[in-house]
Symmetry: C2
Subunit: 356 residues, 2 copies
């Protein structure tokens, strides 16, 4: 069997994207479609965070004004502002989920949660309304309990299990899993628990971000054996695992320069290259035939979001190797994508409307 | 018992220092004494590496010309250039040890070793001559065997044990240990095996260098439980464990800026603040009373280097907290020490000659 020269993907959906606000949002929002995607599941960690339905609706309007061709699924930021009443309101307004951040673990997460029990009435209502709970699955670092960025996800997994046991009908997504333990845990739980995997965690290990801030994100990429577990579950075509890019743009200056008092920003920006890069990465570990399931079918099935009227059929063409080199101006700064300077073996070719 | 306001240290010795070459060497060599130290055990990873006795002697002369007040113990870089004959020559010329680098693991280590067996004749001669073998104890990363920067030291430990078993009288130092497993291994071996610990590995974990290139060095700082093991063995006053700062200066631009194609330099620069910083750090985990042993007695005993004619008695004074803020010009660049912007609770006070 010779390697294919074309691959067709229908209505790809990115179930975890940061589209930011202000000028940065103007720059990055159009890249969702440029990267091949029809649907963006939008994270609420703005300043201030999106904690109310009205804010989410207004945010969606701003995104639509920038690029009306993408389906934006909106989320609220889990905080004490979120009441069962607000959950009902959010559901009626078409909000898709609620995102939980552990306090202080990633960008704009200072208002994140410390304990879940106070949110049980909210989760109860979410379960009733069928709103999805999206979990950033890390606990804060704590030297006394030997918790650091390397085992913060593993330490979170019992919380995931407990939440699922307590709210078995609540649909939960463990976001951006990075470890074998997380994959095993999600597999072991019921069908209401799914898991996103980023493109970059399929490609990197700790060695890639050691001293290389452009590859630094939270959760951090971990051991080769962890990456292997992520690759294996994608190669299996397991329906509970699907793409959420966690594409997280930052101004280049904050990615490239650390001062002794200011570390680099966490997050890598994959939107502009996403579909070709995912194809490239899946092919690298023998999973190119799982592309459609990973970037579209599994996620759309879990979220019950079949392709809409604007959905597209995208032909990816094999190429000799195209160097990632586009950057985008941002005030006096710029935005630089992940994988800059490296080559990708696929590009987006013909795009047509899916006629169903 | 109230906390002391003064601590006296006699003839501190740093058994692992990078003094570089060229302009950088001019800048950093005088900082050894400024940081409180009388003795510098000098690493040979220059460009080209110091593989011959003549080179080491010439290098020592250059260092003496910069600052004649420090006792420089010189090392050779283990490579196929090193013959048993050269070992004898080195011993006669007063060279103290031979440093082994694994290939490609740290700064200027492209010529490092891949397997030890070809060096057995050299080790045999070193054992006869009583030349010390200094080991950078990491194996190269290899995804297929799940080896990465996090477990590269653990994977090296069987090599250490095998070397010791094969050459039981060869004095070996495992350099800059970072893990509990390394501490346990060194403890388990005979008295000819000792271990250096850096100041910064007593202070940091992986969380400190994640996204913060100024704290990035090889071996990388690891789990809180690993740091705890290093602290415990220092607090025990274990005589096989002593300070080797691995002070490793780089131009600030290479420490602070990563481009997508160029990671930041590995290494932190502690020489200018070393003795006060070690006191500060040891006190933070209740080991201030072990300062003399850790920074002088244990290492001098292992290396059989009692304090010389120039040896000093240094009084450290407790201070309210002095901010590390000195930097040094280097061409159009500069050199910035570790801990810049943070405070240290000790400073160097009276210094007098040790009259024995």
């Amino acid at each position: 069997m010779s390697a294919p020269t074309e691959v067709t993907v229908e209505s790809p959906a990115d179930f975890h994207v940061h589209l930011r606000q202000g000028e940065l949002s103007e720059v990055v929002t159009p890249q969702v479609r440029k990267g091949g995607f029809d649907l963006a599941y939008v994270m609420p960690n703005l300043r201030p965070p999106i904690t109310k339905t009205e804010q989410a609706i207004a945010y969606r309007e701003r995104l639509k004004a920038i690029d009306s061709s993408v389906d934006y699924l909106m989320t609220l930021y889990l905080s004490p502002d979120l009441t069962p009443e607000e959950v009902r309101k959010a559901k009626e307004a078409g909000i898709a989920g609620v995102k939980s951040y552990p306090r202080g673990v990633t960008t704009n997460s200072d208002g994140g949660i410390e304990s879940y029990e106070i949110y049980y009435p909210v989760f109860e209502e979410m379960q009733k309304c069928d709103l999805v709970l999206n979990l950033h699955g890390e606990v804060p670092s704590d030297a006394a309990s030997n918790t650091c960025v390397l085992n913060a996800e593993n330490a979170f997994l019992p919380h995931l299990k407990k939440l699922h046991d307590t709210f078995p009908k609540l649909r939960i997504v463990l976001e951006h899993a990075t470890t074998r333990a997380a994959v095993d845990m999600v597999k072991s739980l019921g069908d209401t628990v799914a898991c996103t995997i980023t493109a970059h965690h399929l490609a990197m290990t700790v060695d890639d971000w050691a001293g290389q801030s452009w590859n630094y994100c939270k959760p951090v990429a971990k051991y080769p054996s962890d990456r292997q577990a992520l690759q294996e579950v994608v190669r299996q075509g397991h329906p509970k695992f699907f793409l959420g890019s966690d594409s997280a743009p930052h101004p280049a200056s904050t990615k490239s320069v650390a001062t002794p008092s200011q570390p680099c920003a966490a997050g890598v920006y994959t939107s502009p290259i996403l579909l070709p890069f995912v194809a490239h990465t899946l092919e690298s570990f023998g999973a190119l035939d799982r592309l459609q399931g990973f970037v579209s079918d599994h996620g759309r099935a879990f979220y019950r979001r079949p392709a809409g009227a604007n959905a597209r059929r995208i032909v990816l063409r094999r190429v000799q190797g195209i160097r990632v080199e586009d950057t985008w101006p941002l005030g006096g700064d710029r935005v630089v994508p992940f994988w800059a300077g490296k080559e990708i073996g696929w590009e987006i070719g013909d795009v047509s409307l899916l006629k169903r």
